[in-house]
Symmetry: C3
Subunit: 427 residues, 3 copies
């Protein structure tokens, strides 16, 4: 870690004070978390708790929260010289990012037109965690190559871009993306890869010996892998519609991930002369099925459909670690420390495509009339939408995520002034 | 790890493709996770979410899921040369096992006679995790001695046997087994021990130095212990009846485990000349109370009854590690790597006996008329059942679990063709 | 660890047997976990599960449970010679403490006047975990300096004192303390510090080299930090009123903790010549915001208010590690192994003060008439209470917590007979 002098403390203080001021001006409790809710509640004679969204979202929120901090944090501990740094900076990014995300996402989604305030509740917290996830994915590409201040700048712009692309994809284009294959994974991964591309320096080769894992750091990383793997059903179902949508999203993700484990282990074993398994594949590729089933998780993908998605992604992701990552580094000058191209970028794009196809193939036979309208939210101004149209909108959403990820990453990575304060650890 | 050549990848691919085909033919969403549920829901004017089983089961499902992957996975990391392998193969077995369990258990429990399809939901996922737990227990006996392909064969037959014995015990015999003392622990442990017996080779003695832990691998194992310990109340209550049954199961398990900690630490300290504690006892014996209270957890065992069960099991399990495991290895030729005989087999049998006694001693004074029928499910064809009869049925259930475990393990372990592909690591 | 001979086993056995006898005499299931609940339930035609408190409390209970065992346990693993001991003794204390807490708290809070029995349920389990938390905080001050038997004596008296001060603060004084800033953190920290003061021995200086961490033990400690950090919103909201109170407590805690991360990292970086971060600060000071927002978490603290509390506590706690801990050791003869003065004592007192100010400043404009009565529980004999009076009661509660902590610690620490059986590890 390089000597950043007093830049990091200054940035932390100034930004945190700015957050306090902005929260003071803009952020308030929403109806369900405000004390006045008690008056609303007693005016109905139905039992009150069941109306409160909190009880249906909070367990999923905690699962997502564990994924963000323990999952992403420990997944990046595999570098023997950088285990603590990875967890620590993950913590810093997430701590800052989720405050900024509450503001940015709030401006687009929960601004109360009556008083001009952003009203937050448990769903806002889940969405802020999702937003931070995209920045942590991007961090995976540049792990060990950037300073904490650069990471915070990446996060500041990453969260801002995320809030805009999320608004465009979900609200303007009306694409559905329960588990964020497009909005979170595709955007986050290409954002990080583009920044890594911009920051590429040839002498990285000479420091290869500094990259590498030891046995214990690999077991630590497995803690991250397992908490991501186990709680992914909560991730993909956390903001689905109550009832069948959440239930189905959990089942589809559970199945897809189970299939991924087998195919990624199979390819990993094939790739090694001794038939042993490569720890990097087990740590990462086993998660690809959760990414790829994200968009379609709440659709009627069918259990076997989920297995097929997981089957393919385990293969593609593991092959990516074997062939694509070295190719990208050698020929495209993109150094991808954690292999996020294999774990998030490709599966994210696959997830977007699977979502578009599943939506376009939806029919009233399978979904029922009400079920169709409910699942795809064909209500209000979208009430005359057809499934085939929805498929087109899904594909458009994927393109927006790609453009924001690549474009945003190039701009943020290239504008050397804020971000190239120093290049550390490996250099 | 031995060179398995292309056998492991081939098995993974073929089995995963078979799963996709079988899921395509047989598995569908159940009513609650299907889009048509929305139509059912709007026909009632009561708020919809509260009817959805999903919200009452899903938090417990996630706790059980953590136990299966992090709990069992990390509990087996204590071997210094095998930490990563233990977690990785645990992952492989569970990933495959839960797909196969959904099919096998579905055929017995959730086959829809209308269309011949198996309908899955959150309860199926919990049951699949339970089924996988029995195979992971069996894995504990052969840890480090078998190849991944052998493990997968063990899992294939283990899941199949589990589904049959579960159907016999719970449906045909009408025994109750909320936390699976008989169905999961007794069966799984004797299945694994019998296989280990069949696979015993005398030269294991010479490789004793390869078995053993280092300080850090013991701390990793403690992660597994604690996640199992903490979430055991969810394990024992996950599929109980809603309401008082789940509540009581959680309380009983919480208390039993607390008592076990004290007595296992006491015996461990007594067994060492210096009064220090043996890490193996802390990692394992502290969990025995959760196993032993499994069957009776949903009964009116009373808080002090739970403490007594935990008190006894902490003593018995720790003494097992000190005396019985060496005895079994020396005289019975059963090598038990993780000591599952002490953690699962003996406490599982005790749990079955406690369940039988508690059931036989049930009375309308304690349970109330409706409470008795509800707790023991004295409904339909079982509506004239007496508590004393139920006690007999519980005992019969325990015998079935023992027979399936020992018999199944001997057959699977002895049929050398599929399973003796290679004997690794220790040899 | 010193040779305790047969004292530890004897204490464990005798106390566990005493627990069984006392549970047999006093402890029964409460209405919701008793089988008779089924009769109560069917007499109403409203769907039954929604009435059951269990489903609204149990997910939070499990989160708190993880904090107690994995959170506190792993947070203390940072000592290189004592990782396993810290986790193991944490386990022992918690296992014993929660049984004793169920009895002691039950006598004050859930004694049924009809039959003289203590009725337990999920809320009792959460409260027992809270009580144990205060003893584990105290353990942090004496980590590595006391024998297991001394720890158990500390826990016995700690739990007893806790139950009394909790009753005085919450019931007699009618102070509110959702997250236990006063009741848990202030009391627990001063209890531990006072004991450490009484046990101070000058030759500790000579064994300084035995205190210290290694890289891997620091990563283990980070597991504890993150699980505490992530689940703190559940801790502070676990026993709040259903509905808006729990929701608001979760939001406030989430925000306060996010702000703490930034300021503690900023101060940590400033304190080091190279700008690197000090692992001890990241492991501990990042949690101070959760402690300090405890009392006021369920009040209308406002999102920016939570950020301000977190902002200040991150600074104060980190400065405490840099300046106050060395000062206390050198001049006050208080050796504080884990720095609980910075993580629990100061933030706990701040939390009490913030709670008093927030309560005193409450108005009907902000809370609404019903909301005010509901949030501060101005009902029954307290129905004419004013917010300003409530502020005074909150301040009185803080004083009681301080008195019980300091006074209790001095008495327990000084009464050398039971506790000074041996002083180990460091000496």
């Amino acid at each position: 870690m390089c000597a950043v002098g007093p830049i990091l403390p200054a940035v932390c203080f100034v930004w945190q004070i700015a957050m306090i001021i902005l929260f003071g001006i803009f952020i308030r409790y929403n109806e369900e978390s405000d004390t006045h809710w008690i008056e609303h509640k007693t005016s109905n004679n139905i039992s009150s708790n069941i109306e409160n969204d909190f009880y249906f979202r909070y367990p999923s929120f905690q699962d997502v929260h564990v994924m963000i901090f323990v999952g992403f944090g420990f997944l990046m501990t595999f570098l023997k010289r950088y285990s603590f740094g990875a967890v620590g900076f993950n913590f810093l990014i997430a701590g800052f990012g989720l405050q900024w995300a509450l503001l940015m996402q709030g401006w687009f989604h929960s601004l109360d037109p009556m008083d001009g305030k952003i009203k937050i509740g448990v769903e806002s917290m889940i969405n802020a965690d999702f937003c931070v996830a995209s920045c942590l994915i991007a961090y995976g590409a540049v792990l060990g190559k950037v300073s904490p201040v650069q990471l915070m700048v990446m996060t500041l712009f990453g969260v801002t871009l995320y809030a805009v692309e999320e608004y465009i994809i979900l609200s303007l284009i009306h694409a559905r993306d329960a588990g964020g294959s497009m909005v979170i994974h595709t955007f986050g991964a290409y954002y990080g890869l583009s920044i890594s591309w911009m920051l590429y320096r040839p002498n990285l080769d000479q420091s290869k010996h500094r990259i590498g894992s030891v046995y214990h750091s690999d077991v630590f990383a497995m803690i991250g892998t397992l908490f991501l793997w186990m709680f992914w059903p909560s991730f993909n179902s956390a903001i689905s519609d109550h009832g069948d949508g959440q239930h189905r999203a959990a089942i589809n993700t559970y199945l897809s991930l189970a299939a991924t484990v087998l195919t990624s282990i199979a390819i990993s074993s094939l790739s090694q002369k001794t038939g042993k398994l490569d720890m990097v594949h087990i740590q990462n590729a086993t998660l690809a099925g959760g990414v790829a089933v994200g968009t379609a998780a709440e659709f009627m993908l069918m259990p076997y459909g989920s297995l097929i998605v997981g089957f393919c992604c385990g293969i593609i992701s593991t092959l990516g670690y074997i062939y694509i990552t070295p190719f990208m580094e050698k020929y495209l000058k993109i150094h991808d420390t954690c292999g996020i191209h294999n774990l998030h970028a490709m599966p994210g794009v696959i997830g977007g495509i699977v979502g578009a196809i599943t939506a376009a193939a939806a029919s009233k036979d399978v979904y029922g009339t009400e079920g169709l309208a409910n699942t795809f939210d064909f209500m209000g101004k979208w009430k005359d939408m057809m499934p085939t149209q929805q498929g087109g909108h899904q594909a458009a959403g994927l393109c927006v995520a790609l453009c924001f990820g690549i474009g945003g990453g190039i701009i943020v990575g290239e504008s050397g002034v804020p971000i190239r304060l120093c290049v550390c650890v490996f250099s």
